[in-house]
């Protein structure tokens, strides 16, 4: 099992490194092709979006707190808050929702 992990690690780190290294070492010219440049512009936004939706809904273990966190994250990001603020805000909202649902609401039901 451990050998398996090291193989995964090798592939993972290896590919990441090669993607960074090969262009730095070999490509001294600028890329001219507009489609390629445009594709490379869009790909990080596409990737981050795909990785977030729908995974974010499962990230906290329950839907309500995840939804609350998502809402707060979107709000904060819309207002151009920094990485840390959005992350902490989202986590805080998730935590608050979770605490409310788990400990406070049952007192009234």
């Amino acid at each position: 099992m451990t050998e398996n992990f090291f193989l995964y690690l090798l592939v993972m780190a290896g590919v990441t490194y090669l993607v960074r290294m090969i262009p730095l070492v070999f490509m001294k010219k600028r890329i001219e092709n507009r489609f390629v440049l445009s594709f490379l512009y869009y790909i990080p936004y596409a990737v981050l979006t795909v990785m977030t939706i729908p995974a974010i809904f499962f990230s906290t273990g329950n839907l309500p707190s995840a939804a609350a966190g998502l809402l707060v994250a979107l709000l904060l990001a819309w207002n151009r808050r920094g990485l840390l603020t959005v992350a902490v805000g989202a986590s805080g909202a998730a935590l608050l929702t979770e605490v409310l649902l788990r400990y406070i609401f049952p007192l009234f039901v």
Partner: protein, 244 residues
Amino acid sequence: MNQNYTFRWGLLDGLPICLGYLSVSFAFGIFSTQSGLAIWETLLISMTNLTSAGQLAGVPIIAGGGTFIEMAVAQFVINLRYALMSISLSQKADESMTLPHRLLIAFGNTDEVFAVASSKKKPVGSRYMYGLILLPYLGWASGTLLGAVAGSLLPDVVVAALGIAIYGMFIAIVVPVAKENRPTALCVGVAVILSLLFHFLPLLSSIPEGFAVILSAVAAAALLAAFAPLDAEGCPAFRRKENK
């Protein structure tokens, strides 16, 4: 030869990046151990990869026993933007950046390191780059370790809430740009739809997550690149003339 910026200058510029990395890697550390990986495995991943999105995608593949091909292709697509950054950095490098230095420095060419290096007015040398990369690397590694360990010490409720942190950071990167730029917003919209399709449609949902991410992201990016390429100033714009 005389380089434009010193090692110490690099350290100074790297400090804010380091602080930012402490929090992102902390979240990653928690996520990874929550997914079932050991603390030492989590730490090794961060120490050898130095990328949030790639690491976040890689952990489920390891935890779920995905194929090595899936891992390789996923890492390739997700980290593709670094290729562009490396090309760009290559233009910015002075003569001190010989092959051995490039081989080493390439390892540390992250989004933030690249952004800072690119913002320097004059060409950057090897000593500056080493300084720039060092603290962020230490921050990334230590943050991961702290997160991995904290995962087992913090109350369950807190750990669960922190699960959302790394996605919060992704949102913080995407939303401001999408807000300002319609083609990017459209790309995000298409990506959301594709991702949901791959997740919920019966046939598509049997495709392993790594590949699903690749296919959706590449499709969304390619579509937009075709219909809203970068214009002369490097801003994405729809092909037909449109008044904004």
